[in-house]
Symmetry: D2
Subunit: 379 residues, 4 copies
């Protein structure tokens, strides 16, 4: 019998984009096995997807409540070990709540919840159940991001002065009629923010993860350009960060012609670095008095970068590999947990409940500052 | 019971690089299941890898001959359907021969064999057994390569005049002492050519695949720069191609500082295109009188490009995704074959035995021309 | 006798960087002749530079007051026609004042003056004297910037929503002891702002020039990172612009490792554009539903771009060529003025007194907003 | 009186492209003064250009023979010191011959002559007259090319193994009806080669200049793609170079969509370098075991690079600046010659008669090899 880590999935039924991405990420390294799922809001549609995924019929559930109950009733070495949540945003918490309560670890698509109050509840639940909780801030999974983080932590750039993170997309430039777009603009499904909740939160997470500095104050200007849209589709946030660093976070979904243009630049006293998600295998180091250097995925890098790299230099890794790193590190942590072993550095290196809480607080702070005529708002 | 396509593997044991790559490629889409393997030259080492891969002990074989026999004896719905061959080069043919004879399809790492005579034998065997044979010329699996091929086929560039393909690596710049390097320089394991057989053949395959033109004459200058090395580690080949096109193929493993720099440029009467493997999601179209255009993976492209793309624009796909496309298309063909259904265009779109034969003939021609003081050699 | 436009220069003596740049820009097209100068604060140092420049001794002046008087006394067809001012900032106004009053046109390095009150005085003087006044906002001289401006003006991007301009340098990351650095940090020589006055003003000018939209409100956070420095060395400004557009202006001189990284991105309803000063011959157009296009200097572009281009595509033009375009357009205007002819579009296409006034007001607004805890400040 | 170096020009009349380029290059640094010219084949057209250039009528000559005679008759401190030759190719030698004989230095557009016999004559004449002869291989004037040359000379890359130079243009993809195109395809005006003579010779010069290795054998395949064209418009040449290095030279004028795409890559035992003319301020150094480095114009570079740089990093220099470096270094040599001073390293750093001879021999060798079915041809 296989001893892969056993995963159940909620969401990701017919037509869902992100569910398929999660499954590919889970598949890549052959360490995770999808054993069950409640893939859609109807039993029939759930079954369609489950069969496409070649699951046994008895492990395809009509709804997530049934799934939690039935899986919990299976022998320990058969039942799922963690639940991957890939539903629309407003269902993330309800599913996580039931999963944790039923004794399953959770790896959730982001955002964790729709607001701060909910995420505090979730955090408490994670604590009381003692289960693992992961959040798929996928961009932290890139090897060169981990390299950047370690370079800064080791002091190579000197004290950090300036953090610039941007996440520009153009696909919501016009009023959209598709499924992906509509729930993002619906406060009941997406919470208090559109663009900032959807992608600004990724940017904020990346900035703090790499710089090692937390944001302490924000000053935000959120905008809605498309008529009739109920949430922000663009915004800029000035940042104050720990140790006197300043920052700038920009996110937009109406930057016409941009694809998924997430970039990070950080400047310290001694040098700067630059990373661009659309060419993720390159990390630029810029120095005051020396030529720029180009680090590349697969080179002789830090232990953490190496642990999250699969191929030699020049064999490009991409978004799915970064996503698979989140799955891989989380499932390693699940395995350690099952064995009662402490998780080492690599196994801990996935976004967890503290990132979830942090993200909610940041997005809420952005919205508050913007509503108060772009005043500084302290976190 | 899962109805994934069932794969066995020969090679890919402890310390082997390419075996792990094949397995990730096979895993990614969740359509292929590794059910058995003979992973190494010793039963013990085979078992180490098999267990790491969570295979049942009875499906971990001490050698490939045993594997063919035992698998053939299993019920049809349990036994492997195809064999993935990831051994050193000189074992590709012996394994393929047994696999085909035992009734299994074959997906082989390249080169198919060590010389032309052998590949002719293999071709005959593929024909008589009626089994499928695929060769992992992975670079043809990139979506933008398929887009390039279709753009040229549709005549957008006009008649093709000039094909320039380069494959530059630097990792064999010095005498190496590692496993990867040593078998590449050993004629008994690699055949009559080092660099050209290893990577020049990829370049030639890519040039013909995208341009739609076959090479008709070659004029080659192969070199060995590292003292004591017995095979070429660098070379340039002038090409004459069908319909009067001219070409240039360059490959090197002593281009110090280069990673895995495979590039393709093709020029026709109306325009040109350019693709670089290290940034594989971009395809440049250059026009005589219009601005250059940048096509990106995930855009509105040809059916074949779309069928080999997993993510929206701006979410980079890489080498493993291209590799997974070869696995995906081949396994779809296996599935069609099992059902007695004709393979459609997508299912046929993997490098097959004709590419294997072609590659052997081309490499042999390069060597012949170079040995005859760089004279034109007709294929 | 040559009928080149005759130029005098104030400043640009031994060790001055920008004076030599102005002279190369003036030289390039062979339409301007340097006929006299007061190059430094002492007669002796002025003479050193004047002789290096091969001027006749009688046209090398000990100070600019003498120069204005003596030149005005020369026959009309011999005396200088305009004065190029390349002194430190605090001398720009005094020199311009005397030059205009003495009947000479003025082309001044920026900033025009140290504050708003002074620039209003200058504007009045320009009006009453009827002389031409140009300001070397050199970046507007690049052909692809002119192309960008015309593309937006023609409506190709649709209504403009978002303007992002950045100007990042790293050369003031540490406390500097050189001449270039020291006057920039001295309020008496540089005015109320350091980084924003020096380079933020270029960025603002570029943003308004290309977008065709004026900034209406600003919300700024200016910072000083280097201990002991008396003026800002970094800052970010949120912008509200005409017609509901939003913008972001970022400038820094402590972005360690950056050279002279000025970039402009503008997004409209239909598409976006991107330009980077360090590779100035490329202009990216990004579209909602079509592949990106890369326009290149020398291509089939708008009349204004063509009028400011010297070479065919692929022959890179740079900073000096852009600077020479400012000189060329200004000197054409001088020639038209001398002939009593109206200036056409090209001759008008240089930054003038209105840009000077605008720049002062913007920088002052940035400082005010920042001093008021980053509140929105209306212009 | 000005003591600029005094230049006369032959060619560069109405409609001529390259003459204007030479004049801008001569103007840029203010060290050269155009004092006379014979700009066209008719006195009238010569006068049109001369007046546009604001020359005195008596220094505008109807033909170059008259110019040589009249200038030689002027007082020594007034007459031109060198002649810039910018005529069509077939006139380069006749003008140079008269100029040298009349006692003037010569700076000629390339090629120096139409064939080897002529260039040998020219070389002899240069020797007997003792005059300076320069050839505008402009691409050697780029600062990063000089940096590359010095890095290789200092042994940083180790022994050189591989030199790859490419020069791709697309503007002759179709049959052209313009002046620029027609003389290039006429053997009487261009000599024995089209593309190789025009741009392949630049590529060869660059390869030898930077690598410090001379080409010893060539194996060439020259082609003509456009029907009716009488000279090659495309070609590839395999190279053997001193010390066992191998090389590859590619030139094309039918690479549709390419602008002026000259690139150079050189690989040694320890590392490689890469330079691209269309982004000339970047020089890549690639290492076996260290991250790639990006050197930039204006950085802390070698003395020769610094001597040919005008601006700080991030202020792009381009083609005209490189061209001006050829003019600047040549005119410094002229000045040294006039003073009877020895020329230092900088003053010697321009392409001279030996480069002219070399270029002719190389192009002839390319043609011979290609005519002999692409056999190796020894120089």
């Amino acid at each position: 019998m296989s001893n892969k880590v056993r995963m159940g999935m909620v969401g990701g039924g017919p037509g869902a984009f992100i569910g398929a991405v999660h499954r590919m990420a889970a598949n890549l390294d052959g360490q995770v096995e999808l054993v069950c799922g409640a893939f859609a809001g109807s039993a029939q549609r759930s079954q369609v997807t489950g069969r496409e995924l070649m699951l046994a019929d008895e492990r395809i559930y009509p709804d997530f409540t049934t799934m939690m109950k039935c899986e919990a009733a299976l022998p320990k070495d058969q039942r799922m070990e963690f639940v991957s949540i890939v539903t629309p945003n407003h269902m993330h918490l309800p599913v996580a709540r039931e999963a944790l309560t039923a004794g399953f670890h959770v790896l959730s698509d982001k955002p964790a919840t729709l607001n701060v109050a909910e995420v505090m509840e979730l955090q408490a639940l994670v604590k009381t159940t003692g289960k693992l909780y992961g959040l798929t801030h996928v961009y932290t999974g890139y090897p060169m991001i981990k390299e950047a983080r370690q370079r800064i932590a080791s002091g190579q750039l000197g004290n950090i002065r300036k953090v610039v993170v941007e996440y520009l997309q153009g696909w919501l430039s016009a009023d959209q009629d598709n499924k992906q777009a509509s729930w993002r603009a619906d406060p009941n499904q997406s919470g208090i923010s559109g663009c900032m909740g959807d992608i600004g939160s990724h940017a904020a997470n990346l900035a703090e993860y790499v710089s090692g500095k937390r944001i302490t104050q924000v000053c935000a200007d959120l905008n809605t350009f498309v008529a009739g849209r109920r949430l922000d589709d663009d915004g800029v946030v000035l940042l104050q960060m720990e140790s006197g660093a300043r920052g700038l976070l920009q996110a937009s979904q109406i930057a016409a012609g941009e694809e998924n243009n997430l970039t990070l630049r950080i400047y310290g006293e001694k040098g700067g670095l630059e990373w661009r998600q659309q060419e993720p295998n390159s990390l630029w180091l810029k120095w005051l008095d020396q030529p720029q250097q180009l680090l590349r995925t697969g080179g002789n890098h830090s232990s953490m970068a190496a642990a999250n790299t699969r191929l030699p230099m020049g064999h490009p890794e991409g978004y799915l590999e970064a996503f698979a790193n989140v799955y891989g590190n989380f499932s390693t942590a699940v395995r350690c947990h099952a064995r009662g072993e402490p998780a080492d550095g690599v196994s801990c290196d996935y976004p967890d409940i503290s990132d979830a809480v942090r993200g909610m607080n940041l997005v809420e702070a952005f919205v508050h500052s913007s509503q108060q005529e772009t005043r500084w708002h302290r976190l």
